[in-house]
Amino acid sequence: MRRFIADIGPAAALAMESCVHCGRCAEACQFYVQTNDPRYTPIHKIAPLKQAYERELGPFAFVYRLFGLAPQVTAKELESWQALIYDSCNMCGRCSLICPMAIDIADLVERARHGLFEAGLVPADYLGALAEKEQATGSPYGLTQAQFRDMLHDIGLKHGVVMHVDEAKADIIPTVSSIDLKMFPASMAAIARILNHMGVSWTFRTDGFDADNAALTAGDRAGQRKITLGIIRAALACGARTVVMPECGHAFTEMRWEAANSFGQALPFRVVQITELLAEGLSDGRIRVNPGVGERATYHDACQLSRRGGASAAPRLILRALGVDLREMGDAGDANWCCGGGGGVALVKRAQPLRDLAFQIKRRQVEATGAGTVYTSCSGCRQTLEHGGKTANWTSTVASLLERVADTLAHNQKD
């Protein structure tokens, strides 16, 4: 069970030591709130991790071992915990917001997944997703470089936009998420259009493009770093000054906050999420849009971008610039409710009933705004919301903020 407790430093140890069993975290978590099942209490989900920590790492570990207070976590126990750790946590960190002891439970869940992954207990769906990519293509992205190149050119042709692919030097490297590749290719056209509009030097790199990083939520630390380092190398190779993260929450978390640590030094370029780039461009005039009037919409925060990423302001600035009549949901911004699919839960098929339950909260919230459109900046959220909307006979449409900006660009120059 070594892997379980790997990489635990003072912050995680503090989190592990502090819980006062007050139960508040349950009241912040959509899975408990919607089911009233105590097993969905956030801190309970990481119980095996805590047990392993107490046994192996804690300041009084020797006492725990001596008196058998924290027995070795058995494979069987772990197995029984799999569903809790993978199916019923979005790593959304809402519980981390309520905890009076400021325990970052979402972070602990990520660590718990490391342990389960090492023990071979990652849900089959995940393995499927990961292995499929690797085996089918020999690349962790599920596409070979050549396939990706062809795909991009096709998209460019189809959408009438000039694509920059694998250029030797470029200032800006946009990345994409595998969900975009599969479901929302228009978003790649959108980013190309906007970057062209801005008149910057940019290029897609087929040697580092898929930032989605399912390995992170799977708990596959090696895979996670492999993908991340791939992107870093690609950016270094063309001397990029900015790497743009796509509309994807976990991709941003990984690249913005973790990549440099995997790399072992500060990154020589900056990492921004696409909304941050758009907001910047709109503010400094490099992006000009034709604002509309009276579009009534709401915005769904991706947890990793708002609560956990500090990028709540950018999308709102964009929506203002677009002239959208923004009707905020309750708890918008830092305390938002997850769509229900975050943290890879969307990947696990058997979690669907649970996911749908969680989605009810979102649905109520969106309906309360009376908005016709829900914008979001995470294709994971987008996919989950669309899916949930379909099952719930939703009348609102779900849309990408990026695509919305691309569609509204003021056309006074060649793209």
């Binding site: 070594r2 892997r3 407790i5 790997a6 990489d7 635990i8 430093g9 192996e56 790492l57 804690g58 300041p59 009084f60 570990a61 020797f62 630390r221 090696a222 770093r225 492999k226 380092l229 640590n261 995997s262 072992g264």
Partner: protein
């Protein structure tokens, strides 16, 4: 106290003796009433007590002073101007008291054993001072004989033993750390004979007279608590009866002996008053003929009537505060803790994963 040192007449009744002093029956009754109050007896018993007192014969009392400072005796002698109590003290037949008796040496010794022989089983044995038992009891000898043996012999034939003062009751100051003489109280040495502890350093004279009056009137000892103290006097604490109690209840405490609170008569708890754990009658009977008691004169109770009061920390340390843990000890403890925790953390570091940088993708 005795002005004439001839052997007293054991047949004279107390009533007759009082008449000799010009004290009549009504005075005696008033005295008996006061005594019943002091002894916490029902007042209806006063006439009986007066009657019994009037008829009472002299009682032989043998008084041994061992490891004492004479403070107890002094307090009793200085108790007050001639009162009924003092006459009753006079009335008892103090057959042996080394400090007071004129006789000395072998004469005194002979008087002692004569009195014992004459009153076998009837006399009261009063002891002040503790008894040193270490090294065969060599630290207090009378006529070359260890007082340990003398006390044992005298107690065996006594009707009861009165352990007067904290030393006789519990060992007192001689027993304080490091107790070089192995001092003990009477109850540690004697069994088989009833013992009355009258602790206090010194004990209150009124308490002794109360016990004597009771004993003389009823021929037995008053009710005692589990520490063999007369319940009537030791049943409550100083704190229970303290006139500053209302300040305690309001949380108004003097912080030093000359601050505003002290001047306004606030509670002395924080200045180390031991009243809350001290069982004695000072706060109600008071000293100097009902004049005052330590707290009334501005100083906390020392707790002198409790066992081991001398070793119970500073007189000026509040009951709430224990002996403070020195900074030195505290830092030592912190250092030990830090070292242990650091060792645990370092061991744990080894268990943690190697740095990701070390396992290139």
């Amino acid at each position: 106290m005795p002005e004439d040192h001839r052997m007293p007449d054991h047949t004279e009744t107390l009533g007759a003796a009082l008449v000799r002093h010009g004290i009549g029956r009504r005075d005696l009754l008033r005295f008996a009433l006061a005594m019943t109050a002091s002894l916490a007896l029902p007042p209806g018993i006063a006439p009986v007590m007066a009657e019994n007192l009037a008829r009472a014969k002299r009682r032989s009392v043998i008084w041994l002073s061992i490891q004492d400072c004479t403070g107890c005796l002094e307090a009793l002698l200085q108790s007050s101007s001639p009162t009924l109590e003092s006459i009753i003290f006079d009335f008892i037949s103090l057959d042996y008291q080394e400090t007071l008796m004129a006789a000395a040496g072998s004469t005194a010794d002979r008087m002692l054993w004569d009195a014992v022989a004459a009153n076998k089983g009837e006399y009261l044995l009063a002891i002040d001072g503790s008894i040193p038992v270490k090294d065969g009891g060599v630290y207090a000898l009378t006529g070359g004989r260890s007082t340990v043996g003398i006390v044992e012999a005298l107690a065996a034939d006594a009707k009861a033993v009165l352990a007067i003062g904290t030393c006789a009751a519990y060992g007192g100051i001689p027993k304080a750390y490091p107790n070089p003489t192995g001092a003990v109280g009477v109850e540690d040495l004697i069994s088989g004979t009833p013992i009355v502890n009258i602790p206090g350093c010194p004990p209150m004279p009124d308490v002794l007279s109360g016990i004597l009056v009771y004993f003389i009137s009823f021929g037995r000892l008053p009710a005692l608590d589990e520490r063999k103290r007369p319940l009537a006097y030791y049943g409550t604490t100083i704190h229970d009866r303290c006139y500053r109690r209302s300040f305690y209840d309001r949380g108004q405490f003097a912080q030093s002996f000359d601050d505003d609170g002290a001047r306004q008569g606030w509670c002395l708890f924080e200045l180390g008053c031991k009243g809350p754990i001290t069982h004695n009658a000072c706060a109600s009977l008071k000293w100097g003929g009902g004049t005052s008691f330590p707290i009334e004169s501005g100083h906390g109770c020392l707790g002198c009537a409790e066992p081991n009061f001398w070793d119970a920390g500073s007189f000026y340390t509040s009951l709430a505060g224990g002996s403070p843990t020195g900074w030195q000890n505290a830092s030592m403890a912190a250092a030990v803790g830090l070292a242990g925790g650091a060792a645990a953390a370092l061991l744990a570091r080894d268990k943690a994963d190697p740095d990701p940088e070390e396992t290139p993708p």
